[in-house]
C-alpha cells in the first residue's frame, strides 16, 4: 500500500485516478455476437454457450423440477439467513414508495405525476466460482415491489450445465418469472432482441465482467435501458483515532478480495491510524483464501494522510467512492457533507458487508466516480414517472393566452393554434 502524506490539492486528481480500462478491442466481438443473436436467435445463443461456457444444453430454460431440486439442496441454515436478508431488503425498498404528486398549478390546471412499473426487465447474475445469490435479492426484490410484470433472470451454466442451487432458490423466493441458462455477451444480446426462449426486455440490471459491461452499453444503442455503467468495485474509509485498526483493515480487505482491480483507499488525519491499519492488513491478508487477489488490489491501494477533516471531506467528494465508511468522531461533518458516494457506512460496527448482504440497503452501486451523477439501484430504478394533466374551460381561458405568446415567440404557430381554436370556441359560448 502506498502512503501519501498531505498531498497538494492540485495532485488529487492524479492520486485518485482509477485504473483505465480499454474496451475498444472487445467492442468488435460484442457487435458480432449481437448481430448473430439478432439474426439467428437461440441457435446463436447455443453456439456461444458451447464456445464460452463449454457446455451443450438440451434447453436453456430452467425447469420447475430443477428449481425444486435446487431448493432441496440449500441448507436450512442458509435458507433462514437468506429469508431474513430478504425481509430487510424488502422493508427498506418498500419504504421508498412515493405517492402520486398532485398540483393545481393555476385554477383549473391539474397536473400530476405517477410512477408505473417497467413492465419487462432482465436480471444478469454472473456465474463463476461463487454463486452471487445476494445480487438476485438486490435486483428481484425491488422489481417485485415496483410491480414489474416480467422478471427474466439470465445466468451462465456451469460445466455441468447447471445454475447454482442458491441462485435458483433466491430467484424462486423472489418470484422471478423465467430463469434462463445463458451468460456473457449472448445473454445481454438475447435480452436486447428477444429469441425463441429469451423474452425481449426494456431494462437490464446486474453486474458482470468487461464483456457483459460492453454488451450492456451496446444494448442502450438498441433502446434498452441499463441500471448503470459498471466498473471495478471500490471502498474508501475515513478513519481518525476513534477507529479500530483491525476493523478498518478487514473492511479494506473485504473490498480487495473482489478482484485485483478493486480500489481501496484509507483517508486519515492520523499517521498512527494509518500505520496501525497497514500492520493489521499485513496480518489479516495471509489468512484469506483469496489472498492472491486481495494482495494485487492492496498493492494498488492508497493510504492518504490529510491535515484536517474538511480537507478529507473535499478529497472524498472529489473521488466519489462507491462505498464510503466513516469511523470518525467528526461523524456528522462527513454524513452531512458527503455529496458524492454510492452507499455510506457509519461507525465501528457497520461493516460494508452488512450492506452487501443483509441490512436492507442495495449493493448495486455506481463505481468509477459515477455516483457524481447516478444513484445506486433503488425502487425507482424499476419505475418510470409519467406526468398527467387535465385543464378545465376556466383553466384554459387563463393559461391559454400565456401559451399563445410563448409559442408565437418560439415561431411555433401550430402550437399556438391548438390553443387559439379552443379559446375561440370557449369565448363563443
Amino acid at each position: 500500500m502506498k502512503i501519501i502524506e498531505n498531498p497538494n490539492k492540485a495532485d488529487w486528481s492524479d492520486i485518485l485516478q482509477r485504473p483505465t480500462q480499454t474496451v475498444n478491442d472487445i467492442e468488435n466481438t460484442v457487435t458480432q455476437i449481437f448481430d448473430d443473436v439478432k439474426q439467428n436467435g437461440d441457435k446463436a445463443i447455443a453456439k456461444y454457450t458451447e464456445r464460452f461456457d463449454g457446455v451443450t444444453l438440451d434447453t436453456n430454460l430452467v425447469s420447475s423440477d430443477e428449481i425444486e431440486f435446487a431448493k432441496s439442496q440449500v441448507s436450512a441454515d442458509l435458507k433462514d439467513a437468506i429469508t431474513i436478508a430478504y425481509k430487510n431488503i424488502e422493508r427498506f425498498h418498500a419504504a421508498q414508495k412515493t405517492s402520486k404528486v398532485e398540483v393545481e398549478t393555476m385554477v383549473g390546471v391539474h397536473c400530476w405525476q405517477e410512477k408505473r412499473a417497467i413492465e419487462k426487465i432482465g436480471l444478469y447474475i454472473p456465474g463463476g466460482t461463487a454463486p452471487l445469490f445476494s445480487t438476485v435479492l438486490m435486483l428481484a426484490i425491488p422489481a417485485k415491489i415496483a410491480g414489474c410484470r416480467e422478471i427474466v433472470l439470465c445466468s451462465p451454466p456451469n460445466a455441468s450445465g447447471k445454475i447454482a442451487n442458491e441462485i435458483l432458490f433466491a430467484a424462486d423466493l423472489c418470484g422471478v418469472s423465467k430463469i434462463i441458462k445463458v451468460g456473457g455477451i449472448q445473454a445481454i444480446a438475447g435480452l436486447t432482441f428477444g429469441t425463441e426462449n429469451i423474452p425481449q426486455v426494456y431494462k437490464i440490471f446486474g453486474p458482470g465482467n468487461q464483456f457483459v459491461t460492453v454488451a450492456k452499453q451496446l444494448a442502450t444503442k438498441y433502446g434498452v435501458a441499463i441500471d448503470m455503467p459498471a466498473g471495478p468495485s471500490e471502498l474508501l474509509v475515513v478513519a481518525d483515532d476513534s477507529a479500530n485498526p483491525p476493523f478498518v483493515a478487514s473492511d479494506l480487505l473485504s473490498q480487495a478480495e473482489h478482484g485485483a482491480d478493486s480500489q481501496v483507499i484509507l483517508v486519515s488525519t492520523s499517521k498512527t491510524m494509518i500505520d496501525d491499519v497497514l500492520k493489521a492488513v499485513d496480518v489479516q491478508i495471509e489468512q484469506l483464501p483469496r489472498h492472491d487477489i486481495a494482495k494485487k488490489a492492496i498493492a494498488n491501494s492508497k493510504l492518504i494522510l490529510v491535515e484536517n477533516d474538511e480537507i478529507a471531506l473535499d478529497l472524498i467528494n472529489e473521488y466519489a467512492p462507491e462505498h464510503f465508511i466513516i469511523c470518525s468522531k467528526n461523524e456528522d461533518l462527513f454524513v452531512n457533507g458527503i455529496r458524492n458516494a454510492g452507499s455510506v457506512f457509519i461507525g465501528n460496527y457497520t461493516p460494508e458487508s452488512a450492506g452487501d448482504y443483509a441490512s436492507g440497503t442495495n449493493h448495486t452501486l455506481p463505481t468509477n466516480g459515477f455516483c457524481k451523477a447516478y444513484s445506486g439501484v433503488n425502487l425507482d430504478s424499476f419505475l418510470k414517472s409519467i406526468t398527467f394533466q387535465k385543464i378545465t374551460d376556466k383553466g384554459l381561458l387563463d393559461l391559454g393566452p400565456i401559451i399563445e405568446k410563448m409559442a408565437a415567440a418560439e415561431g411555433l404557430e401550430a402550437h399556438k393554434n391548438a390553443v387559439t381554436l379552443r379559446l375561440n370556441d370557449l369565448n363563443k359560448n
Copy 2:
C-alpha cells in the same frame, strides 16, 4: 395520412414502426471532434464554431452586459408570460421533493436514503431560427430546486455571434451560473472534458439534432451522464365521438410542425371521427407558416381504426408515445391503464402545447418508445439517492451471523471476516 382499419395484432409492430435513423456515419466526426477538444480545449472549440456556426468570437463567454441588454429587448408581455410559466413549472417540480426514507430494518440496524443534488450540470439549448427559451425553463428550474451548484448553459451563436435575447432572459431568470456561446458536437465535448472557458460537468441535459444526440451518447462513454436518449418528437391521440375534430387536428399539427420526421398517430373506434379529423387537418395545414414541414410529417402519419377501447389501450402501450392525448368518454380506462407514455393530456381543453410551455409539467420527454423504461425529466433527474446505514452493537450481534453465513456461501471470506472480527470483539466484552 394513411388510414389503417382494424389491423391484426401481429401487424402492430410493423404499423407502429418509427423511421429508423442511421447514425454510424456521424460517429467518426463526433469522435474526431471529441479528441480535438480534449487535446486543444477552447482553441478547438473556436475552430469548430467558425466552421459550423460561421462566426469568429472574441470570447465564447456571455457577459453580464449582454445579459442586461437582452433583458431590455424582450417585451414586457412575453416577460410576463414567461414568468407565469416559470411559477407553474416551479410549483409542479417543487412538489416532487421527497423526504428522507428512514427504516430500522431490525433492532439497531438503521438504514436511510437521502437525495443530494448533482453538483455540476450542463444544459444544451439548440439555436436555429426559433429561440427555444421554454427548454431553458424546463431544465434550469428543476436544477435550481434540486440545488445543483453549477448550471452551465451552452447554445450556439447566431450569424451575428449572439444567443437569442429570450434565451438569455430565461437563463438569467432561472439563475443559470454560466452561459457559453457554443453549439453542436463541440459544446457536448466541452462539457464532457472541460476547457479553459467551459466547466466539465457530471450530467448533460437538453435536446439537439442528430450530431448532438450522438455526441451525448459518446459523452456517456467518458463517464458523463445524460438526461435520456433522444429521437424525433411524437404524439398519439385516442379519440372517440366525444372528441372535437378541429381540436384533434390542431394537436396533430402542433406535433407535425416540429420536423418532417415527427410522428403523429390517431387511434379511434370511430370512422366518422377519423374522417372528420382528416378533413380538419387538410383545412388547417394550409394556414401554417411551417406547412412544408408539417406536410411531410403528416404524410407519414397514421389514422388507426380499432374495434374497441381495450384494443386501443393495448396498441398504445405497445407504441409507448412521448405525448398521449385522451379525448374519450372512456377516459378512466386510458388514464389508469396507460403503462408506457411520457406525458398524458386529458380532455378536449388540454392541448399538448399546454405542457410544452406553461402548465407546469416538463416537456423533456422520452421519445422512440424509450418511455417503456425512462421517465421524462423531473426533479429526480437532477438528484442522486445515496443510502446510509448505522448499526449498533446489538444490531450487529443479531445481523452479523446472517451476513457471515451468506458471505461464506458466496465464498467471500474477507466479507465474512469483517463481521467475525467485530462479533468476537463484542462477545468478548
